[in-house]
């Protein structure tokens, strides 16, 4: 098993860990962390696939896409954090409403 394939499998593992945490936790900050971990997993799979042609000179197009992805992820995380803080000031705690306990 080449190193690239190994890292690609690790990337899918990260994606699954992140997805599980995203669905299981209800606190919004944990959901944001989970989405970032999922993004990291996806980038890892992309970069592992980029070394397929020649490990010494990897394909630069996936690299550029990953750099773009990292910057977009930080922008989305920043916006998500501000949304979470706004929800906290409105609702009192950073957990999405359950739907069952409607107290309107």
């Amino acid at each position: 098993m080449s190193a690239a394939l190994f890292y690609a499998l690790a990337g899918t593992g990260l994606f699954s860990i992140g997805l599980h945490a995203l669905l299981v936790h209800r606190h919004l900050l944990r959901k944001i962390l989970a989405i970032n971990v999922m993004g990291g997993g996806v980038f890892l799979v992309l970069a592992a696939m980029a070394t397929r042609n020649d490990a010494a000179l990897p394909d630069p197009v996936p690299h550029a896409m990953i750099i773009t992805g990292i910057v977009v992820a930080v922008a989305a995380t920043a916006l998500a954090l501000v949304l979470m803080l706004k929800l906290t000031t409105e609702a009192g705690h950073a957990v999405l409403p359950d739907g069952k306990d409607d107290n309107a």
Binding site: L14, L29, T77, L79
Partner: protein, 311 residues
């Protein structure tokens, strides 16, 4: 053999840190483990022969995201001190088992899909290498980012600006200014900020032919800005209205303007003449670096600078 073991250790550490960050009961510990996760990812990028990504991940993914998360955690703690409700608010019972089973199935399917991918694919590396001398720079990643796939980068800087607009429109107030930062923080910021600006300029310049580029340089500028903000500096009120907005918009606007000009001149979006490409790329990168740095600093602050917390 040794390098194989290193890869195994790094991948296991990566997954262990991710698991620890997401399963930890204490939210602060989760954030710290996430920052460590980002740094180990930077090592993994180096192992995958992607040092540009390693720079970007260390600066943006681990550093800036970590700073954003810690700032948000601090505000969360101040707003609602019962952050320890987070461990109780986990899905339990039958839905938990269902989610776990489905995630395991998805993992197996994805792992199988990745395993059965063909082990050698030409990709676009040869095409990039063949056209590199017409792109105006000699770093292939910069060439792809700013010339061959310049459209993606244009949209990316727009996305950054859009995130800032979204954050500003939510009406939160920025954290209260640190009135007495203390001698150590003050001296540290005075020593480091000029050095950080120098390193950012170096990364911007050298990105044309070696590792570096606009995003890494913008992230280093953002680090300088965050350090100044933590040491109690705030933008003077006279500069906080129009000049700040001009700086924020400079990068996306130049890029968009060049896109429109190339569309009108040559009929294709962002198609540069080879003899002009190098200079145009440097020009776009310079304005983009300043804008990216300013946008990331503003995102850290969370609110426009003249809307400070009154209490």
């Amino acid at each position: 053999m040794i390098s194989g073991m290193l890869d195994i250790v790094l991948a296991l550490a990566l997954m262990g840190l991710a698991w620890g960050a997401l399963a930890s009961a204490d939210l602060f510990k989760a954030i710290v483990l996430f920052i460590a996760f980002g740094l180990v990812m930077a090592l993994v990028w180096v192992r995958l022969n992607a040092p540009d990504i390693a720079l970007a991940e260390a600066a943006i993914g681990a550093g800036l995201t970590g700073a954003l998360l810690l700032a948000a955690y601090a505000k969360l703690h101040a707003a609602s001190p019962d952050t320890d409700v987070d461990n109780a608010s986990r899905v339990r019972g039958i839905p938990f088992i269902l989610i776990s089973v489905l995630t395991l199935l998805l993992t197996a399917a994805l792992g199988y899909a990745v395993w059965t991918l063909p082990s050698d694919g030409a990709g676009l590396g040869n095409d990039v290498a063949a056209n590199l001398d017409r792109s105006g720079v000699s770093n292939p990643v910069t060439a792809v980012l700013l010339n061959f796939r310049g459209y993606d980068t244009l949209l990316e800087v727009m996305v950054l600006l859009l995130a800032l607009l979204g954050a500003w429109s939510l009406g939160l107030s920025s954290p209260r200014r640190e009135a007495a930062p203390g001698l150590v923080l003050d001296t540290l910021s005075r020593l480091l900020v000029p050095l950080l600006i120098l390193v950012a300029a170096y990364l911007l310049w050298v990105g044309a032919h070696a590792l570096g580029g606009a995003f890494q340089a913008g992230a280093v500028l953002a680090a300088a800005g965050v350090l100044m903000l933590l040491a109690g500096w705030r933008l003077p009120a006279a500069l906080a209205a129009l000049p700040l907005r001009l700086v924020l918009v400079a990068g996306p606007a130049t890029f968009l303007l060049l896109a429109v000009i190339t569309l009108l001149l040559e009929g294709r979006l962002l198609q540069f003449y080879p003899q002009w490409a190098g200079r145009l790329i440097l020009f776009i990168e310079t304005t983009a670096t300043i804008s990216i740095g300013a946008t990331l600093i503003a995102l850290f602050l969370g609110a426009p600078p003249n809307r400070e917390d009154r209490q």
